[in-house]
Structure formats: C-alpha cells, structure tokens
Amino acid sequence: MSAWDQFHLIGPVVVLFGGAGALLTWDLVQPRRAPVLALALLTLAAAFGYTLWHALTGSAGTAFDGAVVMDRFALFFAFLLIAVAAAVTVAATEFARRSDNAAEFYALLLVATGAMVLLTQANDLVSVFIALETTAIAQFVLAGIGRDARSSEAGLKYLLTGAVSAAVLLYGFALLFGLAGTTALPGIAAYVAAGHEETRLALILAFVLVAAGLGFKMATAPFHAWVPDVYQGAPTPVTSFLAVASKAAAFAVVLRVFYAGLGGGGTIISHDWSALFAVVAGVSMTFGNTAAILQTDVKRLLAYSSIAQAGNIAVGLAAVAAGSTIGPSGVLFFLGTYTAANLGVFIAVIAVSERIGSDEMRDYAGLLRRSPWLASILVLCLLSLTGIPPTAGFLAKLYIFNGAVQAGEPWLVWLVVVAVLNTAVSAFYYLRWARTIVLDEPLEGTSITAALPVQGLLTLAAAGVLFFGLVPAPLISAAQRAAEALQ
C-alpha cells in the first residue's frame, strides 16, 4: 500500500489538522484579520466531504502497520464528531468575536476534532494513546481559554486530573503489552481469546487500570470529580464540545479497546469487565442524578446530568461484555440520539447566556414567553434527555436497557431496575427546569432572540430528536452496521 493510500485512509484527520495549521498561520501573518470562522467551517465541510467519500466508496482497511483502521465504526463516529464540531463552531460565533484568541479557539477545536476522529480509528495501544492525549491537551487549553479566573481554574484542574488519569491508563497499557507482547489490538484480542488462565489476574489488573483511565474521559463515577468544575468554569461553547464530542469519542475508544481488543462475551475475563461496568453504571447514575437535583446553575446541572447519562451508556457496555448481540449497536444508537438532544440543550444555553449573561436556573423563568421557538426546542431536548416518548431519548433508553436484559445475566436485570428508577429521579430535575421555562413568571419581559444560524442549529437538533424518535430505522441500521465492523 503506497504512502498516499495510507494517508487517504486517515484523510479527514489530515484535513482537520491541516485546516488548523492554515488557520493559525493566516492569523500569524494577519493578526485578527483572518477569516477564522469561514476557514474553520470550510475545513469541517471538507473533512465531512472526505468522510462522505469514504462512506460512499466503502473504504476499509488498515494503514501504517495496523496502527489505524478505517471501518464503518470509525465512519459513524467521524460523521458524528465533525457534525458536532461544526455545530459548536457556529454556536460559538459570538464567544469567538468577543475573545482575543478566536484563531486559537477554532484551531484547537479543529485539532481536538481531528484527534478524536483519529481516536475512533486507532487500532493499536500507541495510536490510541497519541490520539487520546492530542485530544486531551487541546481540550485542556480550550477549557482555560476564557478571560475570567474561573476558566483558567477549570483548565488547570482538568489538566491535572487528566494527566494523572493518562498515567494510570498507560500503566494498564504497559501491562497489556507485557502480557500479549504486542501493542496491536488484534494481537491483544488473540492473547485474550487464547485463554491464558495463569495470567488472568494480571489481565484483570490491566483492564481495571485501562477502565480507570478511560473512565475519566467518559466522565463516569468514581472518576467524575473534575466534571462539575470544568463544565461550569469553561466557556459554554467549550463545555458543549466536552459534553457532546469528547464523551462520544471516549465511548468509541472504550468500545474499540474493550470489545475489539479484550473480546465480547465468552472470554476468561468477560464476566469481570461486565461486572466492572455494571458497578460503574449504577454508581454514576445514582450519584449523578442525586447531585443534579441540588443544582441551581444550569451548566453544573448539565455536568451532573452528563455523569448520569454516562452511567446509562455504561449499562450498554456491561451488556456488551455479557455477550448481548444488540449491546454494541445500542451504545451507538444512544450516543447518536444523546448527541442531538444534548447539543440542542447546550446551544440553547449558549444563546441564552449570550443574551442575559447568566447560567442561573431562575433566569430561565418564563423563557417560553421571552423566546418561544428557542424555549420549545430546549424543552423538547430536555424531554429527550429524560427519555419520554415520542422523543429519540425514549427509544435509546429502551434499546440499551433491552440489550442488558437480553444478555441474560441476573445482575444485569437488577442494573436495569436501578437504571429505570434513576430515570424517574432524573425526570425530577429535567422536568423542573422545563416547568420553570414554561410556567414561571418571567423576571423580565424583554424578548430573547438568537442569531439566525443558531436558530437553524436548534431546529436541526429538534428535528433530529423528533425524527429519530418517530423513524429510528435509519440510525439503528447505521449503528448496527458500525457495530458489526468491530467483530
């Protein structure tokens, strides 16, 4: 395979990194006069087009000695991540206009997106590590890019916890390498499948360390301590990127490493990692939902809600480990619908805080009268996060819980019971926010109008939430085909 063919397989990543470099160079030559927004959108459009080309020509294969792989799984996430980055780019227009560092902001966003796409393609412990850290370092800086002290505090906290978790992850990788003698995921899969009973404990230690390191990226308990502070302190567009794109990429790499690398059901350790993720899921949901009830700051509320939702997705991971056939596609379907709903909520929050300069729950009182279109979409997306029909969130939860029950392990049935109870708890704070928006008297009567592109984005998010709630078949079949690529 020629060098060109190999770079072709990671084409979207090359485009995103190249765009970031071009954007920074232009800004260096003509400070503050470079058309940064247009360049960022052009780069994302080119990367999206490249991904589309891959999807249409059915590209598949490995490159760079098996370090990266192009398959339907990577394509699924490439579309998702590039679309999220484009939405955040548009929603952040006003933030970037006020910022002194608009070029750096967009460049870092492109680098983080490119690294995430690479992460979903990584098929070797080394490339997983490089892509993960490139994503993380770009996000540390993004979290600290705001002008206030809270933003730099968020950046530093994120960085310190991130660095510790990366080191823990690496120790797990070193053990996996020491066991299997290779850093390639297929090689590790072969070692696990061979069933070396004598090294089972070492293998468990290795994957517990890996799960701990990746748990930080997924924002699951007990590695969630950074989430509320970083989500609250970071500029809201950055928070939305962390909550939506970063989380999807983290679950993608967990699926790739655990499902493709450590094997689905039926290996000597599949029971152990199923139990591990079941505990993580239960603790994340219960803790996240309980703490979210107490919040009055909407960004902090969304941070705890994101921990709880990570718990829901971890139910799917536990089902995958237990050998559920619909487990992997359930996780992908959930991530797809969660992206639409969460993005809708965040774009609305960005628009509101741009206008009224507050993230307090009480300032959302009577939003329906001040901004009917924005408020109705916000409420719709909140209903989807709760999981109420006919929104996509309902089907996503049904799908993922069904996968857990289908796996046929008694403890997974109990986990689903816990998850359903947690849904009831989450309804309390999601619907309280919705009630504040719809029923409460507004504190001020002035109307809030979002910019036209932002309204377009909101409409798209709402359309996604409703469309996939009523006609889920296209997304389900895409998720299934993506999941099949992992086997």
Binding site: F129, E133, F140, G144, S152, A167, L170, F177, G178, G181
Partner: protein
C-alpha cells in the same frame, strides 16, 4: 552470610522497581496540594510506566517474545507526549498564578459543589 557473587537482574526486579516508582508518583500526585508538585508526581508515574515498557520489551512478554522494539517505540511516544503535557501544564499554572497569586489547589476554589 555473604552476598551472592553474581546478582542477576530479572524482569521481576524491573517490574518491582516500576511498580514502586509508579506508586510513589501516584501518592505524590494525590496528596500534594501544590499544582507543580502534582505534576512532579505525574512525571514519576509516567517514568514507572516507561520502566515497565522497556523491561517487557527487553525481556519478552508472558506470551513469549515481543514485537522487536515495540516497547522502546512506545516509550519515545510517552516521553514526547509527557513533554507536551508538561509545557501546557506549566503555562496554565503561570496563568493561574498571575490571576490568583497561588497554585495551591485548596485555595483555587472559585467553584465548589
């Protein structure tokens, strides 16, 4: 009792050392309240990882031999990424220090739950 005349250093010795270095690193990273000291702990953790990778690469893995130099190559990447991370971390610490006159993590607490 006299010391053995030759001491053979085996994989187990390297792994024990690697575990100790990693353990000291994580203890430092979790207990120190100064951001710079936490970073030092992280560096120790990464060096513990590097020792383990190099030892496996030199002595072979449990499954038999390893891919030639795979561990060595991994270590080069770990070092590079650690340097990049440290650069960003120090820049961030300077930024916080300029605004708050401290990098004590207990006092960097505008946000608390």
């Amino acid at each position: 009792m006299s010391l053995p005349e030759t001491l053979t250093v085996t994989l187990a010795h390297y792994l024990a050392l690697s575990g100790v270095v990693f353990g000291i690193g994580i203890a430092v990273a979790l207990s120190k309240r100064n951001a710079i000291a936490v970073l030092m702990g992280v560096e120790l953790m990464l060096n513990g990882v590097n020792l383990a990778l190099l030892a496996f690469s030199r002595f072979g893995a449990f499954a038999g031999g390893t891919e030639p130099l795979a561990g060595h190559a991994f270590v080069v990447f770990v070092l590079t990424v650690a340097a990049a991370e440290a650069a960003v971390a120090l820049a961030m610490a300077v930024l916080v220090y300029r605004r708050r006159e401290t990098v004590d993590l207990d006092r960097i607490s505008l946000m608390r739950w």
